[in-house]
Symmetry: C2
């Protein structure tokens, strides 16, 4: 019987983030990379329950914003996938193809514009049929040619994609803004992940989009990871599929479409990385599979009354996801480590003393402190749970303090990004004219021009940090995944 | 503006069920079969919301019974899929293969025993790690070689599959029984679909199982459709994958596994077919995307007070999924037809009279009757909604009355199954000795031997209805999908 402490993380997050991440996803039983095809993962129950909670909160917000669910096929006929020229150019190298069936060529969907647009064409006749705001929950498949990494770069992604159609460009652009707000409401305000909404340079937009706004999240190792992105497709796909509608005056026009794609399995990377510490995961209260674990501490003599009192408390916490850990083969210390590793927000410890005094000991995973609380004040947990998430967000926001630095010289730039920060610089251009300088940044500094800050309209003062030509934009540069 | 009534179903369910079904899934906007690959479907928002509700209720029950979620890859390496010999033989013809990537051969999962078993092998060391009860929600893919039919026979199936591992055969067999109970608790008691738990003859069991118990549902056209099935895999897969554990005495043994697979997209076929009528869908209260639709009936003069009163009522119904249909471009009659077609359990009509008398008119989709109810009695809806589902189930159960008939001669048998009923007959054998007679039934009567009634231990009295040899079983024969 394993009486000794469960083996925890053996490296410090600050010292070796990459190894810390690998250990935490294995030891907290989030994923398993063994026993399956390269680039595919098994999500274990602990990871799956977190992802289920993420899905629920995301879907709730999408519903609130007027989206309706759909289930599209996982496959796309080749002729559809190839309808929009820049889309096919961008995605073809990443496509998994099925072996032909009666000469029919099918791709596993890498993204679903070419599934939704032909349906919009069938379902929308007039401006009155819009806005049509749809989403689906499911997998997409991308044959990443770079090396794969569990959760971070995988060949199957657990995501949501929303596809919306509008009668005017103005409404479509408003949707792109709403999508950024959804990311803010869910990923930041509920999951505690701050992000920079970056309008991507032309060369980095979604294949087939007019423009793309990605949500860049800074990881503890100073690298940026792209989280949900939203795209103004404009009329590119509707023209490719000849998807038209009649406006108020009876005039025909092509649909205006947008797409938004939050990937749960990828956002989980940020949740783990942003909040976790050397002892393991720290989960937002709203995402934790168990929000409160109750650990009765007993011996043969007091077992029955300790267990009874534990159930008494647990019964009063029915509106939370709770678990009573009364396994006898593990010591209390082993259990404490286990639940700290797994990121449980609150642990309630109950022993002889607590029973006698009609109290309970509450351990918070965020402060790592214990409080002895009277059972009369049990309802305080509601307030404490809200504070837990609020403080978790505050802590994550604080991590971003000072992480963006203005810089004027290439030397500065190098220093800043090598320090795990984001550089804010004057840049010649984010249209194709600027690609040469961006390539220089990529090759010489192993960093990326992530784009301009969406909606900020920042005006550059000075010359391009790379080519010294007149600058038209202020861009953000950082290392990235 | 479409002032005229929305076009409803143009055939009677009793007279042409197949056409009725095709019309209802199109006109109630459940699925769309256009614009995608053969055998794949687009599930539209109305269908998707019903399926989402089905998933939620099913997953809730699985959690209650101790199952935990997982996400397995959608692909299976060929070497894994081919480990268990009867499994590979049964499934290979139905597999979609991906084009090889660096010589790696991957199948789209047709079912996931060969994904779960290698993980059980990694996760389970001792009897203390069990029972391990896992499930996943997702698609499976089967290249059906027969003709495909929307929802009924498709190449991508939206399903749940539960895979469980146990230390003893006894526990595994108890799980098979629990699975039947889950079908009863969810599909029958919540979705209102009565079924016969049929232990399949040897020749019809799941490829790789020791035995299979399928849930047969009689459709209005007198054909049986297989709904959730549960399988005792025994040690077949654990032996193929060498997945062992140590029992209480430290002795090694192979795991005992089971699998259970309710397919949401397929159960929806039964929900539509069992409850619907000539006016359209009738949805169980628990499954309806909108449970109550409020239709204000107004003119230019009374518009504002009718709308205000409608909102007043709607605000008191916040614990339900409600929708206020105040679209001005459609007439009340058009809306009534629309919501009847879409199967809304209750419609609340509010006009001048209702406002004046502080009442509301409640239309029930099940009785097709209207009641004028005082707003003071609004809380009656809780009771009425429970009665709605109870009566829906009662009606479905009544449909089954007299649908099973004993018969002694082949002539009788022919008459019974051609009458859309199920024949209960003496049969020589449900092991391989009986396959010859079953083939005869299939060829001569275009019907199927569905198996013995699970857990009933019915003893045959008389000779096999086909070959006149000694009969060892009582089996049920019917036409099927």
């Amino acid at each position: 019987m394993p009486k000794k402490n469960k083996e925890g993380i053996t490296v410090k997050k600050d010292e070796n983030f990459s190894e810390w991440f690998s250990q935490i996803i294995e030891k907290a039983e989030i994923v398993d990379i063994r026993g399956t095809a390269k680039g595919f993962m098994v999500i274990r129950p602990w990871g799956a329950e977190i992802i289920e909670n993420m899905y629920k909160l995301y879907e709730k917000e999408l519903h609130k914003k007027g989206h309706k669910p759909t289930f599209m096929p996982s496959v796309i006929p080749e002729e559809n996938l190839k309808k929009e020229s820049s889309h096919v150019k961008g995605f073809t190298p990443e496509v998994f193809w099925l072996k032909e069936i009666n000469k029919e060529k099918l791709a596993l969907r890498p993204t679903s514009e070419t599934l939704y647009t032909p349906m919009f064409k069938l379902w929308i006749r007039s401006h009155r049929d819009m806005p049509m705001k749809l989403y689906q929950r499911g997998s997409v498949f991308r044959l990443d040619t770079k090396s794969t990494r569990p959760l971070i770069r995988t060949r199957e992604i657990l995501w949501i994609e929303a596809h919306d159609a509008f009668a005017t460009k103005k409404e479509a652009e408003a949707q792109v803004q709403e999508d950024i707000q959804i990311t803010e409401n869910v990923m930041h305000q509920q999951f505690g992940i701050p992000f920079l909404p970056m309008k991507r340079p032309t060369w980095d937009k979604f294949a087939g989009a007019e423009y793309t706004i990605g949500s860049d999240v800074l990881m503890p190792d100073g690298k940026l990871i792209q989280q949900p992105s939203t795209h103004l497709m404009g009329q590119k796909f509707s023209k490719a599929f000849n998807a038209k509608f009649k406006d108020e005056k009876g005039k025909e026009d092509y649909l205006w479409t947008t797409a938004y794609g939050p990937a749960m399995s990828r956002i989980l990377v940020s949740v783990i990385s942003m909040h976790g510490d050397d002892n393991g995961l720290i989960l937002p209260f709203m995402l934790a599979p168990y929000q409160i674990v109750l650990v009765p501490i007993f011996n043969a003599q007091n077992k029955s009354k300790v267990i009874k009192y534990t159930h008494e408390i647990s019964n009063k916490l029915k509106c939370y996801r709770t678990y009573i850990d009364n396994r006898e083969e593990y010591s209390p210390g082993w259990k404490f480590n286990e639940w700290e590793l797994k990121g449980i927000p609150f642990r309630i410890e109950i022993g002889e003393k607590e029973v006698k005094e009609k109290k309970f000991t509450l351990f918070s995973r965020l402060t790592n402190k214990k409080d002895l609380i009277s059972i009369k004040n049990l309802s305080k947990i509601d307030k404490l749970s809200k504070e837990f998430d609020k403080n978790l967000i505050k802590k994550a926001d604080k991590f971003m303090d000072g992480k963006i630095e203005d810089c004027k010289s290439q030397e500065d730039l190098k220093k800043i990004i090598n320090n795990g920060k984001i550089a804010r610089v004057n840049f010649c251009s984010t249209d194709s004219n600027g690609e040469k300088c961006a390539t220089y940044v990529e090759k010489e500094l192993i960093a990326e021009v992530r784009g301009t800050y969406a909606n900020k309209n920042e005006s550059p003062k000075g010359k391009c940090i790379i080519c010294s030509k007149k600058s038209t934009d202020i861009v953000y540069i950082g290392k990235s995944y």
